[in-house]
């Protein structure tokens, strides 16, 4: 016991002798301030946030990289079109979940309701680009098969969610 006492006394005295408290405080303070701001200062590629809007096509108006695009009327998650994939295709390396939920959206181009399947892409970490939440044809969670808060990656090999695509399955008539 006495030995431990001696050890800690000596080591703390040495620290007190050789370091300055003020310097430590100022160093620590600036480290914390700079550390918190670092993510902004680092030269990260931010071009993915500045995706050029695609020109609207006849019969399919809107920008597929925007949450306001008509096919995304019930999407909850990250748009695959902002994540290296397209409106209908997963980014490379991500696996599409076969089970999914399906809703309808009205195409302003022809005024028809289309059946849209919101398949999740899985197996890569969250893409975190173009986060959208729109719930036009969503049902409450007590109807899980029509809910977009469910992680639909539970139908894929990996349950890690990456992004969501919007596939047209037909016209709702």
């Amino acid at each position: 016991m006495k030995l431990l006492d001696l050890l800690f006394e000596r080591s703390s005295r040495r620290v007190a002798d050789t370091t300055s408290r003020r310097k430590l405080l100022s160093r620590l303070g600036s480290l914390m301030v700079v550390g918190a701001a670092l993510p902004l200062l680092l030269p990260i590629d931010r071009t993915s946030k500045a995706l050029a809007a695609e020109a609207p096509k006849a019969g399919d108006p809107g920008d597929p990289n925007s949450c306001d695009y008509w096919r995304y009327c019930s999407i909850d998650g990250f748009l695959c079109s902002c994540c290296g994939g397209t409106v209908t295709a997963c980014p490379p390396g991500a696996e599409v979940s076969q089970i999914t939920w399906i809703g309808t959206c009205r195409n302003p181009g022809d005024g028809k309701d289309y059946i849209i399947s919101y398949n999740d892409c899985c197996g890569k970490h969250s893409c975190a680009q173009c986060a959208c939440t729109r719930n036009d044809s969503e049902e409450p969670l007590y109807r899980p098969f029509n809910n977009n808060d469910v992680n639909w990656c539970l139908g894929a090999k990996s349950h890690v969610y990456n992004c969501t695509v919007a596939v047209i399955r037909g016209v709702a008539v």
Partner: protein, 177 residues
């Protein structure tokens, strides 16, 4: 405190103040508007008047899949070529109405009766699993059966499967057993 350190500190502080403003993002975005053409609220599916095939897509196909092969990894059995077997055992007719996908769907009773009759045809989902005589479901029958909930789904289903096996029916629902 040296001048260089003070400049460094001030710069850091400035970045710290700016960081939350730059990174803050509300989900869902309060500025978000519905897509052009989607401003009008959607008609609930029970009142939308879609065909039975569209209703199947909207309420069933997500898990049971377009062709009805199901997703055994997610406890969704195969319907194609199998679902008709439930009509061959006692309690099976009621079971088909009470399974969560049917009884808890957003469809009304008449739409559900149409859905069941659509599934249970020889050239439809049920295929050859259908018994010789099939009495179509009616909205009134669905209403009466649907109001009684199933308390133990796995055991109820297992009992029906056992009754099928006793009749010599080969169980091809895709589920592990």
């Amino acid at each position: 405190m040296g001048g260089a350190l003070r400049t460094q500190l001030l710069l850091g502080l400035l970045c710290l103040i700016a960081a939350p403003l730059a990174l803050a993002r509300a989900i869902p975005d309060p500025q978000q508007r519905p897509a052009p053409g989607n401003e009008r609220p959607q008609v609930p599916i029970a009142a939308a008047g879609y065909s039975t095939a569209v209703n199947y897509q909207l309420q069933c196909a997500g898990c049971h899949q377009g062709s009805g092969q199901g997703s055994p990894a997610n406890d969704t059995p195969r319907m194609r070529g199998f679902v008709g077997n439930f009509l061959k055992v006692a309690g099976g007719r009621e079971f088909l109405v009470r399974v969560p996908g049917i009884s808890q769907s957003a469809l009304n009773n008449a739409q559900l009766a149409d859905m069941l009759n659509w599934l249970l045809t020889r050239d439809g989902m049920a295929g050859d699993s259908l018994p010789q005589q099939v009495q179509p479901y009616t909205a009134e029958e669905v209403r009466a059966i649907r109001s009684v909930s199933i308390l133990n789904l796995p055991d109820t289903r297992a009992g029906l499967i056992k009754a099928m096996q006793a009749q010599g029916i080969v169980i091809e629902d895709g589920m592990p057993r």
